[in-house]
Amino acid sequence: MSDLQKLEAETLAAIDAAADEAALENVRVAALGKKGSISALLATLGKMSPDERKSEGARINALKDKVGEALSARKTVLKEAALEARLASETLDVTLPTRASGLEAGRIHPISQVMDELTAIFSDMGFSIAEGPDVESDDYNFTKLNFPPGHPAREMHDTFFFNRKANGERKLLRTHTSPVQVRTMLKNPPPIRVICPGRTYRCDSDQTHTPMFHQVEGLVIDRKAHMGHLKWVLEEFCKTFFEVPNVKMRFRPSFFPFTEPSAEVDIQCSRKGGDMRFGEGDDWLEILGCGMVHPNVLRNCGLDPDEFQGFAWGMGIDRIAMLKYGMNDLRAFFEADVRWLQHYGFRPLDLPTLAGGLSS
């Protein structure tokens, strides 16, 4: 074995034996550094004859290239191994739980969600949203709505009153959202299409009655709106709201001081196994009251009942929320029990839209 072969064998063995990049660098310096063994051999070329230089030069440069390649290959291997080792040391237990973000933890109250659903449906039908104060006058809550003073229908409302003032005025908490009808008619000329959602109050409390609850009122006034339109609006609403292809509704004559003719509306449902389903079954469930706006109400709001006509309806927002989403105790709506809110509430980005579906 020539010296050159020996040097090659030793150097390649040293490269293979280098355990890390630092050891490898030592091998490189020892072979190819300024004072390295191969560099020293190259330095001897100057003293050789041209012929000798030619043959020896080729052999030494071949050795240099071979060692260079071996160094580079080993370096890649060592770098890879070092990265593997680092990655292994960096391992985290990814099964550790993270915190729920606001988008997961936050909740929208079912009443707000249903109000947004109502808005989505009725805005598409061209209805605006009208609002009015909770503290109302007797005039707007009763008299203008054709409840004569002393009429038994007033008594049925279990009104919350404020104390009578020195000037004889006695304000009250509105017992229904119907005063917003009055305010709308007094303020805006027909045609009118509004829904009036809001808080209402009656001095009553049990599983299905709370002293505060939510109603939505609808009002359409123009020169030709009749009960057929009323029926269509309510049927389309119920289908869309309850997200069923068809609903069967039953209109029964009834009485409200502010509508004539008046009707109560039942919706067909089934209660198999305690589950309420709409659009099927043979039970009827009362869901709302409605009618043609009473001529006296139109007159009280400055409209000629022979010229203008229209209809109104009212229903409980909490009630339709209970029917749709299956809560059975109205009182829980107002108890702010976080367990209830987490369970029955809606996630922050559950936006009801007609395009995306109200509740999907």
């Binding site: 739980p97 606001g102 909740r107 707000s112 949203i129 009153f161 057929g228 269509w232 003719p261």
Partner: protein
Amino acid sequence: MKFTLSWLKSHLDTQASLTEIADTLTRIGLEVEGLENPAETLGGFRIARIVTAEQHPNADRLRVCQVDVGDDKPLQVVCGAPNARAGLKTVFAPPGTYIPAKNFTIAKGVIRGVESGGMMCSPEELGLEGDSSGIFELPEDAPVGAPYAAYAGLDDPLIDINLTPNRSDAASVFGVARDLAAAALGCLTTKAPAPVVGAFPCPVTPKLDFAAEDQKLAPLFALRLVRGVKNGPSPEWLQARLKSIGLRPINALVDITNFMTFDRGRPLHVFDAKKVAGDLIIRRARAGESLVALDGKTYALDENVVVIADDKGVESLAGVMGGESTGCDETTTDVLIESALWDPANIAQTGRKLGIVSDARYRFERGVDPAFTVPGLELATRMVLDLCGGEASQIAVAGALPAPAEPIDFPLSEVERLTGVALDPSDMQATLEELGFTLAATQGNAGHLQVRAPSWRPDIEGKADLVEEIIRLAGLDRVTPTPLERKGAVAGPVLTLLQRRVRGARRALAARGMVEAVTWSFISKSEAELFGGGAPELALANPIAADLSDMRPSLVPGLIDAARNNAARGFGDIAVFEIGQVFKTDAEDGQFTAAAALRRGTAKPAGAGRHWDGKTASVDVFDVKADVFALLSVLGVSAQAVQLVPGGPAFLHPGRSATLQFGPKNIVGWFGELHPRALETLGVSGPLVAFEILLDALTAPKNRPTRAKPKLELADFQPLERDFAFIVDKRVKAADLIKAAQGADRQMIVNVGVFDLYEGPGVPSDKKSVALNVTLQPREKTLTDVEIEALSGKIVAEVAKKTGAVLRA
């Protein structure tokens, strides 16, 4: 109102089934709320006769009976009753019969090896009262094979209708029958009462004693004496009628008045004539008068109450309740029967004020048929004579029937205008006539009728009422759904700015991990006062509970209640919000829409509770400050536009709270830690932070002519950041340091942040170290070191000048 089918049929001749009757009642507006039909539940039970009864071969206590149930041949039934014997007539349940009391359906079976084709029953098994030690023992004449319920008179369904306040005409069985007859469900068989000829003048004279303007309080008062009556228990049929609707029979005279109330909707009153002194005066009560009424209670009266008085004083509350001292009992021999008309509003007011709920009040306050005042008295007299004997006087009348209402000018086209349903004019006229309306043609106007309502329909006022009458009998199912015209191809936006902000705020706060609550609009007075409310004008006169007495001036007390209640259930770390109305005055513009939120315990925006990723921190003022600015950003309100003034209302920690305002006159809200004293008063422990913003007080965004966003200007040069640590007095606000630094060069300095805050060793005790990072954005060219140095010097100088801060060595 309740009545039985047989009672209804005493006025109405009909072949209609119970279901048809109930459906029709609901369809015409007399909603059936309840229907109990024993004949249906007990329909399967039949009368049977035991032909033979022999000992069961395998059981001592059982007998094998051959039972005649009315079929061709007897059935074999195994029976365990001790009284099962040959010849006994009893009640039999064939297979398939539901046994109510046992809650099972009987089937054919084999009992101890012997076939049994049904069951013989005890009263208890049918859910009835009676001796149930054995099976029924029916009389010998009971018809074998007949349904037991019919035989026992149990097949009289009880119908309960929900009467709307306008339908006083149907507050009697007769009235219901009349409406059903109009709906073509049968024929009204009851005739007008025949007058009873009086044998002598009524010895007691009624006198109406009212001022001219009060005449309407008692338009008509009719009175008659029947002398020589024998009062006692009323006959079985009358007692049964009253019992069937839950009334207690008392004595014949009283039962007759109750019967007249429910049967004919004509409340009457009977006085024991011997207990009445002198004539009867109908007048307003006088302050200080009182009456012991038939319910045994004493009522203090005033001049708003109309009474019937004699020489001794008040004897009866008109139209509401009679007096105890002149009531009729078994000793009554002479009875005065009163039939009168009262003012509905006055009766309602009296009943409400005195707290008396009576069947008479119910009818008078809705309106009775005035035309039936005297006929009703005639009918009652006939019943008294029939049931109690005696001799009737002539009728003494005070006042007169009020004039009937004017006819209504009714265009028949009104029906189609309001309902969209085109009905045949002759059908519409027929409907009105069936209902008792009187029709006359309008001269020169073929499409119009002059319509006069019958005396029993005080609710009919105008055209719309007539439309309702026609459509309710035609059926509301005739109304065809008709689409509303669309306003445009695409529905436009409808929400107001405030409505959009309410919706946005709700989603924004929920997205910060908070849960939306809806709490009561009323809170306790002490809570209201603590939060700046409690004004007398916002206190309820009749709160439902003492702690729900005052309209809330703020949403926060409700949220604090929620925090306390949830903590009591074991959920102490909660973040809740509410968006809703708050009340500053009782005026229309005194109500505002607020958004408020509360964080308690560890319920920070990043999440509540302990977590492996760091130490568990309590909520602090910066959590709610972050909530506020996130909210303002969502609502499109620039954070720069809002002034933040340290400190706030008294219920907040003075050193850990701030007021939000657009100038000193326009305060829009606050955020901060609750004052420890407030927490103590409210009975809740901290840490507890909250904020509240009035959404209607926020400025509206500027109207822009285009939806395009402002042009984006991007600098060509990299921004660079320089840090400055200042030593400054503790009381100097970070905001002032930031503002001063920004003021050094408003063009170049695009951001100033606070990246470190230090107090402690190395810094004098009255000072703090505040480190600012300032971002510079070159616009024209890259800055040279000299330029950067110059700008840094300017920042240091400006901050020193404005705040007294010095650069930390």
